[in-house]
């Protein structure tokens, strides 16, 4: 890669309890990229994502923009990584704008009623990007699944961090919202961010990602453009399925077709 490396991991391993979930993963990723992290259930995708953000302890070294992850304070990490967990849960019926404003928490804006002009502008940009401005006074618990996922996405965009990590952001969304979320993430990458998306949807990965990381049993078995990471052989080896492939407007269409 010609661009400067934004996120580098070398020999990263993570154990949960006495089970090794991520084994010896090394990678180097730069900004302006949408990276799809794929792999079967239990391959360690979520754990790797958490380790990269420093949310779970790991062995090996992780560097963000040249700084070793452990040397950064919690707040510095929060400014560099925006993290969208699976499920987009919100425990209290809070107005959508307050949830989006939480994205400014890492920048010291801890009270959504007292945002600086800069924070307000960032919240507004994020809400415009995900088209939730009209929902801002609605309680998140009243929103539909699609609307809620857009609010959640707005929250992580409002951080305006160089790196965005999203764990299955398209899970349980209807096709239209899946496309919308991926387009939003694609746009964020085009604006210069490094976006890493965990997904089970190989079709969306092939279509939207610049780079595909394939994780199998905790090991990174492939790292490269979709044509490499989502080759018939790798998909057959890792997912144990045969795929149907077609070309559409110069994009590759991949559909899992039959078990092996």
């Amino acid at each position: 890669m010609s661009e400067a490396v934004l996120l580098a991991a070398s020999s990263v391993s993570v154990s949960l309890g006495n089970r090794v979930v991520v084994r010896d993963v090394s990678l180097a990723l730069s900004g302006k990229h949408l990276v799809a992290l794929v792999g079967p259930n239990g391959a360690g995708k979520t754990t790797l994502l958490r380790a990269l953000a420093g949310l779970v302890p790991s062995l090996g070294t992780i560097e963000v923009g040249g700084d070793a992850l452990p040397s950064l304070t919690l707040q510095e990490r929060a400014q560099r990584f925006a993290y969208l967990p699976q499920g987009h849960q919100v425990h209290w019926p809070l107005p959508a704008k307050d949830i989006v404003a939480l994205g400014r928490y890492p920048h010291g804006a801890v009270d959504p009623a007292r945002l600086t002009e800069k924070d307000t502008a960032a919240v507004m940009r994020a809400m415009q990007a995900t088209d939730v401005v009209a929902l801002r006074d609605r309680s998140v618990t009243e929103l539909s699944g699609g609307e809620r996922s857009r609010v959640a996405l707005a929250r992580v965009l409002a951080v305006e961090a160089p790196i965005l990590l999203a764990d299955e952001p398209t899970a349980s969304l209807d096709p239209r919202y899946q496309l919308e979320v991926m387009s939003n993430l694609r746009a964020a990458a085009d604006r210069g961010m490094l976006v890493i998306v965990v997904t089970h949807d190989l079709g969306l990965a092939a279509r939207f990602a610049d780079t595909v990381l394939v994780l199998s049993d905790g090991r990174l078995v492939s790292q490269g453009p979709p044509a490499v990471g989502l080759s018939d052989k790798i998909i057959a080896d890792v997912f144990r399925v045969r795929t149907y492939r077609a070309d559409h407007d110069h994009d590759t269409v991949i559909v899992p077709w039959a078990e092996i």
Binding site: R50, A53, L55, L74, Q75, R77, A78, Q79, F81, A82, Y83, L84, P85, Q89, V90, H91, W92, P93, L94, P95, K97, D98, I99, L102, G103, Y105, P106, V110, D111, P112, A113, R114, L115, T120, V123, M124, R136, D137, A152, R155, V159
Partner: protein, 341 residues
């Protein structure tokens, strides 16, 4: 984008109303009793006027009692709101977690062992340590994403254990009169408390309240879950410890002088949510004020309700609180029957 909206105005109005209510109840608390005093007489006596009897009644008998009701009700309401914010769970509260029961055991043990009379700092210290242990154990059992069921069962187990340990201590006590006295004290009361009691409890309550209040913004961040909150820069492990510490200091200090007064921490945040909204950071102060109002009102009520012997204020709060708790269980039935939600 204008962030100061109708909701903020409404919160301000509710806060003013709460302050007025608490102030009014505090005045009433100084006026009500065997000797009824008018507000004018109370204010007069408070600032050194009136007859000597009136001054003694207001300044030495009723003022410490009023201050304790205010502080203890306040810290119980605040603790309930803080625990509910930490666990993102509307059924969390100190009494359901067995904290007051554990604190009572700590205090009773110290008394029974003859390590302290009721005027020494050993008493609140023991109560605080026991309260800390109970909340710590409960959160350790509950784990990171505890459902309602686990929390309530674990709380039940801890309060039962603390209750049994207290009974055992009284059982083994050599002096039957001391045991009776402890039993009455356990029911929770603010009667006959002096400024010595205020000095014993207030410092711990103030420190506990300060700790809990300082974490208000972290509770808001926790609304999106522990993991997301951590990714926003909240040190969730440290937050848990601080909340346990704040609740233990406040509840331990309160129990040490007033016995176990339950359910205010559960009820206060629920009364405020329809008025203030669900933001756990903004619920803390209104819940504290509501807790103070509830305990002041309960302590006035036990003086007014005609009865042959004194009704203990802890008994009254439980009588009101338990049906409320049952109502909440009915309302949360779906989440409960869903198991570990």
């Amino acid at each position: 984008m204008v962030m100061t909206d109708a909701a903020a105005r409404r919160r301000a109005i509710v806060m003013v109303a709460l302050v007025v209510l608490v102030g009014g109840l505090a005045m009433a608390s100084l006026g009500v009793g065997p000797v009824k005093l008018s507000p004018a007489t109370v204010i007069d006596a408070l600032f050194g006027g009136g007859s000597e009897v009136q001054r003694i009644i207001v300044q030495q008998i009723r003022l410490p009692r009023m201050i304790l009701a205010l502080a203890i009700g306040g810290i119980l309401g605040l603790s309930g709101a803080a625990l509910q914010g930490l666990l993102r769970n509307p059924l969390a509260s100190p009494s359901l977690f067995g904290a007051p029961q554990a604190a009572a055991f700590g205090a009773v043990l110290v008394i029974a062992l003859g390590l302290a009379d009721v005027r020494s700092f050993a008493l609140p210290a023991a109560a605080i340590v026991a309260a800390f242990a109970s909340v710590f154990v409960l959160l350790a059992i509950a784990g990171r994403n505890a459902g309602l069921l686990i929390l309530i069962l674990a709380g039940l187990a801890i309060s039962s254990l603390a209750g049994a340990a207290t009974s055992l201590t009284m059982n083994l006590s050599r002096n039957p009169f001391a045991a009776l006295e402890i039993a009455f004290w356990l029911l929770g009361s603010l009667e006959d408390r002096s400024f010595r009691h205020v000095m014993l409890a207030l410092p711990f309550i103030v420190v506990g309240a300060t700790i809990l209040f300082s974490q208000r913004h972290a509770f808001r961040a926790l609304s999106v879950g522990e993991e997301a909150a951590q990714s926003l820069g909240v040190n969730v492990g440290r937050l848990r410890l601080l909340v346990i510490l704040g609740v233990a200091l406040g509840v331990g200090g309160a129990v040490a002088v007033a016995g176990a007064i339950g359910f205010i921490g559960l009820v206060a945040p629920h009364l405020m949510r329809p008025l203030i909204g669900y933001d756990p950071g903004r619920l803390l102060v209104p819940s504290a004020l509501t807790g103070a109002a509830l305990l002041l009102a309960a302590d006035i009520a036990v003086r007014i309700i005609p009865s042959t012997s004194d009704i203990k204020v802890g008994v009254l709060t439980a009588l009101i609180g338990v049906p409320f708790f049952l109502y909440l269980i009915v309302r949360e039935r779906r989440a409960l029957s869903g198991g570990v939600a």
